[in-house]
Amino acid sequence: MEITALYYLLPALFMFCAGVYGFITRKNMIAMLISLELMLNGVDMNFVIFNRFLFPGSMEGMYFTLFAIGIAAAETAVAIAIIVNLFRSKGNVDVTGLNEMKF
């Protein structure tokens, strides 16, 4: 048995689909953020796998993933700050209760 690119891509696809499911079904904002991280991680894996299998000499996919990880960290920090702030003013972090921009 040879492990081709497909064997690496299918778990990444599965991770992305799990993220889609979680993002739609979850109501808690932090759980939605976790699903978002799953989706982002699946896409990062795709970049790395395509780079490794199609262009092994260059490192563009690796750098893209490197920057994506950095930006994901920044995005998560700001999103969690917003969520904590919402929790302070609303008392819960449920998306169904948040229907106005100015609280």
Binding site: T4, A18, I34, S35, R52, E75, A77, V78
Partner: protein, 170 residues
């Protein structure tokens, strides 16, 4: 032809990714969800190691598993009582989610499977060493990545300031 050890290694990692990512979005305890996310991120780092991108695997563990998950755990403990179950899903939202996820899986999976002959075997590649990565990241020549590097550093600074300003108690 791969050795038996690498096939077993691959199977363990792929199973971890599949099972833990499903559990992360279906478990009703949010802290467990963060823990399963941690396992998924570790398995992703293992995939990077298996593909010879060792620096990237290290970054994945340090930033994602070490930084982001800790941030998640802090936020969860701040905003919810421990042991609190999230409410049961309505069948409607579950159906919508399943339809979206399965449709994505079918479309992407079909297009991947129909083109997978393009990427037959794992080509030879030497592990990119630290010196090469750093020189490329900080060079301003053609193909150098100095500008995105500096842009990300400005972004991180803006993000630190933004998070402090937003999260500050007024």
């Amino acid at each position: 032809m791969e050795s038996v050890g690498s096939i077993i290694m691959y199977a363990v990692v792929a199973l971890t990714i599949v099972i833990c990512s499903v559990l992360a979005v279906t478990t009703r305890k949010i802290l467990r969800s963060a823990t399963y996310l941690l396992f998924t991120l570790f398995a992703t780092a293992a995939i990077y190691f298996m593909l010879d991108y060792e620096f990237l695997g290290g970054v994945q563990i340090a930033v994602y598993a070490g930084g982001i998950v800790v941030l998640f755990v802090f936020a969860i403990l701040l905003t919810s009582r421990p042991g609190h179950d999230s409410e049961k899903l309505t069948s409607r939202s579950r159906r919508t989610g399943l339809v979206a996820a399965v449709a994505t899986a079918i479309v992407c999976g079909w297009s991947l499977c129909s083109r997978s002959a393009l990427m037959a075997g794992l080509p030879q590649m030497s592990n990119p060493d630290m010196k090469l990565i750093g020189a490329r990241l900080l060079s301003s020549d053609a193909g150098g990545l100095l500008l995105p590097f500096e842009a990300v550093s400005v972004l991180l600074l803006a993000c630190i300031i933004g998070a402090v300003v937003i999260g500050r108690r007024r």
